[in-house]
């Protein structure tokens, strides 16, 4: 028995799990409709794909949500997983699912996929015959991904860094790398049967003043970790920064560098896509303003040249959105995309050069770590602060990098910590900001900068 198969059996020996029939699952994937594969839609590249977020505990409510989305002309359906499942607490998820079913009140903030099982969920997914994207936040997603693919979900979001550093205080990072390695292998294996399974990294991270260089480095590293296991379709992503120019520069640089680094490991046959998240920071409570913000995000996504956009709703500030509000955003976003024609081509060479230099310097420092495998190099780089994510709650993160917005609202690094930002770039970043202020005023600026859209 292969090590992968042995690991698979350990994961499945769990009382909450479906009785897996892997031969049947393989047959299902082999014969599955091409329409279920987002990688297939990406290849046809007619337009930017629109995907909302959303997950309800019961099958019935999830089904109803999907119906609303389909009526709103959705391109990609989401399946957002509840927080108990994300922490592998299937017993609590089961209990809360039963309470939700019996009382018509939602006791979970998402769909408990493992408890529903793949046989049930597959019925819903094949019924709508749209690609589904799995949205979760799970450090150990091995069982979840087995269940998802068996259900017909052929896009898997997440990664060992992007699903850990923003969400957890002390889940061991080295374990997360190994669990995700399993996920990549499973995705790679199923990709051989039909169209490739698409993997997507979660670029927004903490969505709080993360500088473009850090976002891009983490996107590239998760991409490389995935491609080296054999994944053939991968989406890098980022969220609206607050400066249109910075978004456009980031889009240009991440596209160029993703291609460059994929070639470096002889994976240029893999398809790389770009996903743009509508504003992920604090939202205005005024729902009309929220809609304006969402609309602006859509325009920027077009300027960036994203292959897919992930939407927010007018109810973002007030909790989990209703299916009506959620579907409304999808329809509005499709409308905006339809009327956005003749976009200008904006290139800011100086900003692109500065950002490229920063990313390459950090990537080089990661590759120069003496560890033997890429995941260990990345692990060490986070541990020693070569990669530092502002506002990560995780104990391994250094938190020595400080960023603020300049007059044009670009996110700038004013304290680099251990991150090897080249001196020239560091001087450039700081030159854009007013650094004569004392720390108290800088803290007030940061508070203001975080809430700029409110």
């Amino acid at each position: 028995m292969s090590l992968l198969q042995e690991e698979r059996e350990i994961i499945l020996s769990n009382e909450y799990v479906d009785n897996f029939d892997f031969a049947e699952v393989a047959e299902f994937v082999t014969n599955a409709s091409k329409d279920l594969f987002i990688s297939h839609h990406f290849n046809r590249k007619n337009k930017m794909l629109v995907q909302p977020r959303g997950g309800f505990p019961t099958y019935k409510k999830q089904f109803a949500l999907n119906e609303f989305f389909v009526h709103a002309n959705v391109d990609v359906l989401p399946l957002t997983i509840d927080s108990n499942t994300r922490l592998n607490d299937y017993a609590t998820a089961k209990k809360m699912l039963r309470l939700s079913e019996e009382n018509d009140v939602d006791m979970l903030n998402g769909y408990p996929l493992v408890n529903h099982g793949y046989r049930t969920t597959r019925k819903m997914i094949t019924h709508f015959n749209k690609p589904v994207s799995l949205r979760h936040g799970t450090p150990d997603a091995r069982l979840l991904i087995e269940t998802a693919i068996a259900s017909g979900i052929f896009e898997i979001e997440g990664g060992p860094i992007t699903y850990l550093l923003p969400y957890s205080k002390n889940f061991p990072l080295d374990k997360a790398f190994l669990y995700w390695k399993y996920v990549e292998r499973v995705c790679a294996n199923y990709s051989k049967l039909n169209e490739p399974i698409n993997r997507e990294s979660f670029g927004p991270l903490t969505a709080t003043l993360v500088p473009p260089a850090i976002t891009i480095v983490i996107q590239l590293l998760e991409m490389l970790l995935s491609l080296e296991e054999g994944v053939k379709s991968f989406s890098v992503s980022f969220s609206q920064t607050g400066s249109m120019n910075q978004d456009i520069v980031m889009g240009a640089v991440i596209k160029k560098l993703a291609k460059f680094y994929a070639e470096q490991i002889n994976c240029s046959d893999a398809a790389i896509h770009l996903v743009y998240h509508q504003w992920m920071g604090a939202f205005p409570t005024n729902k009309d303003y929220a809609e304006q913000l969402i609309n602006m995000s859509t325009v920027i996504a077009s300027m960036v040249g994203a292959d897919k956009i992930i939407t927010k709703t007018r109810e973002e500030a007030s909790g989990i959105p209703t299916k009506e509000a959620n579907a409304k955003t999808v329809a509005n976003t499709q409308y905006t995309l339809g009327i956005l024609n003749g976009l200008p081509n904006i290139v800011d060479e100086e900003e692109e050069e500065m950002l490229t230099l920063q990313v390459k310097a950090i990537m080089e420092a990661v590759f120069n770590d003496p560890a033997d495998t890429l995941w260990r190099k990345v692990f060490n780089s986070i541990k020693n602060g070569v990669i530092d994510v502002p506002f990560s709650p995780h104990i391994i993160n250094h938190n020595n990098m400080i960023t603020i917005r300049d007059a044009k609202k670009n996110i700038r690094i004013i304290k680099r910590g251990n991150v090897p930002i080249p001196d020239r770039c560091y001087a450039y970043e700081k030159a854009q900001c007013d650094l004569t202020k004392d720390t108290t005023s800088i803290v007030n600026d940061i508070i203001h900068d975080i809430g700029i859209m409110q």
Partner: protein, 151 residues
């Protein structure tokens, strides 16, 4: 002065926590930041370990109310914490309530300074006032002691 700070309970909201750390540093405190998702025992252990003068607990999701009920009992199990300045701030209830109702409640739980939805720097100013008042008081007491003993 040494300050132990962190976010109580299963609350993972980290932004203000980082800003509190930065601001305390800027005001010259020595900061021991336990970060988010910190339990009461961890706070008191850290106070003992570092010899902190101030314990500054924060809460965003309002869990603090549940945890704070245990503060007095737990603190009484530790020795030599009588002089510790206890401060709490953030959103101190789940849902909404008036500061006039909340502050006496938390004072009763054992906190010296209670900041419900108070701006960060205003809260830190309150701490400074509290510290200087206490110093003045101590000096007065000492003066009186000296006076009494010389009389």
């Amino acid at each position: 002065m040494k300050v132990v700070t962190g976010v109580v309970g299963n609350d993972i909201h980290v932004v203000a926590n980082r800003l509190i750390e930065l601001s305390l540093h800027a005001r010259g405190y020595e900061v021991f930041n336990l970060g988010v998702n910190t339990y009461l025992e961890e706070f008191f252990d850290a106070v003992v370990e570092t010899g902190a003068d101030v314990l500054m607990i924060s809460s965003l999701n309002g869990e603090a109310e549940g945890w704070s009920r245990e503060v007095k009992l737990l603190k009484s199990k530790y020795k030599n914490l009588d002089d510790l300045i206890m401060m709490i701030g953030g959103n101190l209830v789940v849902g909404s309530a008036n500061a006039e109702d909340i502050i006496p409640k938390y004072k009763n739980y054992g906190f010296d300074i209670v900041c419900h939805q108070v701006d960060l720097n205003t809260g830190l100013d309150l701490l400074e006032t509290f510290i200087s008042d206490r110093k003045a008081n101590d000096t007065n007491m000492k003066d009186r002691d000296i006076k009494e003993s010389t009389e």
